[in-house]
């Protein structure tokens, strides 16, 4: 003999039964965390956009030659991966970004700490650094070409330049995170200068350094790509410009998508490293 639940559903405030009228899909939706819900919404919206794009392109509502379509973009990926030219461009750009990021962050961290430690240098140079931060860096491309010539190294120098200003500003801002009471404790317990630097200043400024490194890498990526877009020195930027001129829109989108995934992966890796190195900080 089987039994069924005969208990009536509990009424809500207006006397309406709640459980019986709630469809399963809604109940499942409410059981998801906010993070899962937001991801699901994002995926749904992207799928919807791709669907509309595909239909509009196939029906002639959009000119497929200019905007391509999602299926064509996906189809172009294997041939791009097989292409020697694309592989060489990817390697050149990725290597350039990494070298530029190292230059930019190292120089930025050193200059940021110099500014942080010496008030007079901060007073003299922090203002100009903030000004440089707000100026579009691309206006300096001609200067870099004049100084360093038309080659890959110039792209790397420009990429480093695009990143290091962000690093400086963030490292200097990190100095504002040093708590007065931590310095007081160091003094009360007889810390020598190297203790103050190693035990107080470096750990306290670390959030600024972390933020600076991330912005330095992002700046390096942007700088290299912009330089490659504007100046014919090879790399992915140049290749995207070439495909764009040839109206190979599917390849343009595929390469752009690839760069976006590269940037997101870099961000995820950096977040994981930061979380590991700064586990003393509140995670939220």
């Amino acid at each position: 003999m089987t039994t069924t639940d005969q208990s009536p559903a509990r009424p809500d405030d207006r006397g309406q039964p709640v459980v019986a009228s709630t469809p399963g899909i809604v109940r499942r939706w409410h059981s998801l965390t906010l993070r899962s819900q937001s991801r699901l919404v994002l995926v749904l919206v992207l799928v919807l956009v791709a669907l509309v794009w595909e239909i509009a392109s196939r029906t002639g509502l959009l000119n497929a030659q200019f905007v391509s379509r999602p299926t064509a973009i996906v189809a172009s990926i294997p041939e791009l991966l097989a292409s020697e030219t694309v592989r060489a461009a990817v390697i050149a750009t990725v290597a350039g970004v990494l070298v530029a990021a190292v230059y930019g962050t190292v120089i930025g961290i050193v200059l940021g700490y110099v500014m942080g430690f010496f008030a007079i240098i901060r007073a003299a140079f922090f203002g100009p650094a903030l000004f440089l931060l707000s100026v579009p860096k691309s206006i300096f491309i001609p200067i870099f070409l004049v100084f360093f010539g038309l080659n890959r190294e110039t792209a790397i120098f420009y990429g480093a330049f695009s990143g290091f200003i962000y690093v400086i500003v963030n490292v200097v801002a990190g100095f504002d995170l040093i708590r007065e009471q931590d310095l007081r404790i160091a003094k009360a317990f007889g810390a020598k200068i190297h203790h103050r630097i190693l035990d107080i200043v470096f750990p306290a400024t670390l959030p600024g350094v972390f933020a600076g490194i991330w912005y330095g890498v992002k700046g390096g990526l942007q700088g290299i790509l912009i330089f490659e877009f504007f100046v014919s020195v090879g790399g992915l930027g140049a290749l995207i410009t070439q495909y764009s001129n040839e109206l190979r829109t599917d390849r343009v989108f595929a390469l752009t998508l690839g760069m976006a995934i590269f940037a997101i992966a870099l961000g995820a890796i950096w977040t994981a490293i930061e979380r590991r190195l700064a586990k003393w900080r509140p995670q939220n």
Binding site: D182, I185, F189, K192, D199, W280
Partner: protein, 263 residues
């Protein structure tokens, strides 16, 4: 061992070119094992006085000596501080915070850690040696700060409103525990407090300061033996001392107190 403050004065220059006398002609002596509390109206210079005793602030005139040696700068072996805001380094685990002073003092890591473990056990935090400060309650953080000071085996412990940031129940419980521990170890303690109850409960002697310029307006001896239990709060002596302090620190009497010192 004795800590002596002799003709101690501190004067600050203000932005308008005037001079502000924070402490004026402070004189007292504290014997080994004595627990002294300092109480007074806000801004009377209690913390300034404590900072002078610990060498964190150079007096404008006068001298502080410990065992006849003038205190010229901070030295946690001679005088270790416990501040109101705990001030644990958030990036250091509990044990690393406890041994911070030993590390600064160049004590080998193994020896420092052994001392840190001992002091953490004393304040009941052995199980939290690897926790970060953010994982501890305010009371637990203050225990670590006390352990950090005790690790230095200081000649004198200087506590600046150590329970001021805690809720009433925690401050009372922690206060009893710490007072018992410090009494058992025969520690010499100077504690600044705003609380009349704390000032009486833990002290052998209470220094009452007048409003600015800060002076020692009155010394009150508490005769009941330490460590004291909760029962002491219900005694006539406690009530009488509390009443006396309350009257002394009453806003209307603070200025009279300063004038009586002048006379």
């Amino acid at each position: 061992m004795s800590l002596i403050a002799k003709n101690l004065s501190v004067t600050y220059g203000t932005g308008s070119g005037r001079e502000l006398v924070a402490l004026d002609d402070i004189n007292f002596e504290i014997a080994r094992g004595e627990f002294v509390t300092i109480i007074g109206p806000s801004g009377c210079g209690k913390s300034t006085l404590l900072h002078c005793l610990g060498g964190m602030l150079k007096p404008s005139s006068g001298v502080v000596t410990l065992d006849e040696e003038p205190i010229r700068g901070p030295d946690a072996r001679r005088a270790a501080f416990v501040f109101q805001d705990y001030t644990l380094l958030p990036w250091r685990q509990v044990l690393q915070n406890a041994v911070l002073g030993l590390r600064f003092d160049g004590v080998p890591k193994a020896k420092a850690n052994a001392k840190g473990e001992e002091m953490l056990a004393l304040v009941g935090l052995s199980d939290f040696r690897e926790a970060y400060p953010r994982e501890l309650s305010g009371g637990m953080q203050q225990r670590v700060a006390i352990a950090r000071a005790m690790c230095m085996e200081p000649g004198i412990l200087l506590m600046d409103e150590p329970f001021g940031a805690l809720d009433e129940q925690t401050r009372r419980q922690l206060g009893f525990e710490m007072a018992r521990m410090l009494s058992e170890r025969d520690s010499t303690v100077v504690m600044v407090t705003h609380s009349l109850d704390e000032a009486i409960m833990w002290a052998d002697r209470i220094l009452v300061m007048s409003a600015r310029p800060g002076r020692i307006a009155k010394e009150i001896r508490v005769t009941a033996p330490r460590p004291r239990t909760h029962d002491y709060i219900a005694t006539e002596e406690f009530a009488a001392l509390r009443s006396e302090l309350f009257t002394l620190l009453d806003q209307d009497n603070v200025s009279d107190l300063a004038e009586s010192v002048d006379r």
